[in-house]
């Protein structure tokens, strides 16, 4: 059922400020401009249609990002991406083990290289890439991320730690490769 005029106004006010963020995430997920546009268009259509089921006072951003992500995961590109990603980690606390192949200096060196960051993000497995984007780019709280990805808070923390460690390893590898 499509929302009434008042609801449609409210939807527009809530949804349009998130347009650029949704598009950026869609592009990172699909890695293709045209597919990203299709994904965003479908997300807005589904969100508008289902807006009556949105509970006022709850987190709209997490709600619409969840729609985008679920729409992606059921698309052909999303299904392929999920197939190529190893089964997700168990929900257990992250135990810290120092990464000996990298150093803060190497990370700082790589920081200057915008391309290195982009390339490393592109290489990350989908669950790692999306959680880093939600946390570091969208600046979502752990609770918002848990709502968006529909996972427990503990899993958010452990997955984020693993994702960041993979990111650092990819960057450290790139820096070492460049200076060999």
């Amino acid at each position: 059922m499509w929302p009434g005029r008042d609801n449609a106004n409210e939807f527009e006010q809530l949804a349009m400020p998130l347009f650029a963020s949704l598009y950026n995430l869609a592009h990172w997920l699909t890695q293709d401009r045209s597919e990203a546009e299709d994904l965003v268009q479908e997300t807005y259509a589904k969100a508008l249609k289902g807006f009556n089921s949105f509970q006022p006072g709850t987190n709209f951003r997490a709600w619409i990002f969840r729609i985008l992500r679920n729409t992606f995961l059921t698309s052909r590109t999303g299904l392929n991406a999920v197939k190529t990603v190893p089964v997700d980690e168990a929900d257990e606390p992250e135990s810290f083990t120092p990464v000996t192949r990298e150093s803060p200096e190497s990370i700082l060196l790589a920081r200057a290289d915008h391309d290195a960051i982009v390339a490393a993000l592109q290489k990350l497995p989908l669950p790692f890439r999306e959680i880093i984007l939600l946390c570091d780019v969208e600046e979502m709280s752990y609770r918002e991320i848990a709502e968006t990805l529909m996972i427990p808070l503990g899993t958010v923390m452990s997955r984020l730690a693993r994702a960041r460690r993979s990111m650092r390893q990819l960057l450290a590898g790139r820096v070492q490769g460049a200076y060999r």
């Binding site: 527009e12 546009e37 807005y44 992250e94 990370i107």
Partner: protein
Amino acid sequence: MTCDTWQPKIDAYLDNELPEADVRDVASHLRSCASCSSEALARSELKRSIHLAAKSYVPDPEFRKRIQNTVSPKVAGRSWNWAWTAGTAFAMILLVIAGSLLWTRQIQQQQIIGELTDLHVATLASANRVEVVSSDRHTVKPWFQGKVPFTFNVPELQGSQFELIGGKVTYLDQNPGAELLFGVRKHLLSVFIFKDSPELDRALGSNGQMRKLSFNLASWSDNGLRYLVVTDAARSDVNDLHARFAEAAR
């Protein structure tokens, strides 16, 4: 507690997700432990770099318009038979539109120049004012390749009173752009370059000069790009630099 106990808390500390009591403990440990402090700095720098680098994809303005049309509520198709009602409504709408256009343009212009002035001041206050440090335009221009979704020409400054100091990537309303820093005598000038958009054009016009907090600002549009200068240098310096950019863009 050993450092192994603190390390897992560093991410949550940097993400502002630690309880207040833990924040104090972690901050106190970081002040006294060089190893954890260095680790926290690296993680914080990486977080910041990802934040900047991963905002890479900017939607096409046409696509935004398409989505906007999809979500905007449709006007109900009720027909009115009274011509005077329609006429009055039409006249009122025209008045409101004319007034609000002027008002909106001024608000938007103030927002944009306020944001750019802040960016300029932040650059001046920063210990690392630019990311590419060079007075050679053939070094600075290529550095932006792949970092901003357009290219531009940097003017030849030999024999002029200007010197190129360097540049960095910046953002205006989530759109990436270039910020070039120039020196003239003891003054600094930031030249911001973004892809031009109907919003910028509407707010700033094709060519204009403004003042904000005693800073001199100039804005012009050339070849699909929007140039904006912010400085405390004289208006004549701004005009001179504008002319050099216009010449370089030909």
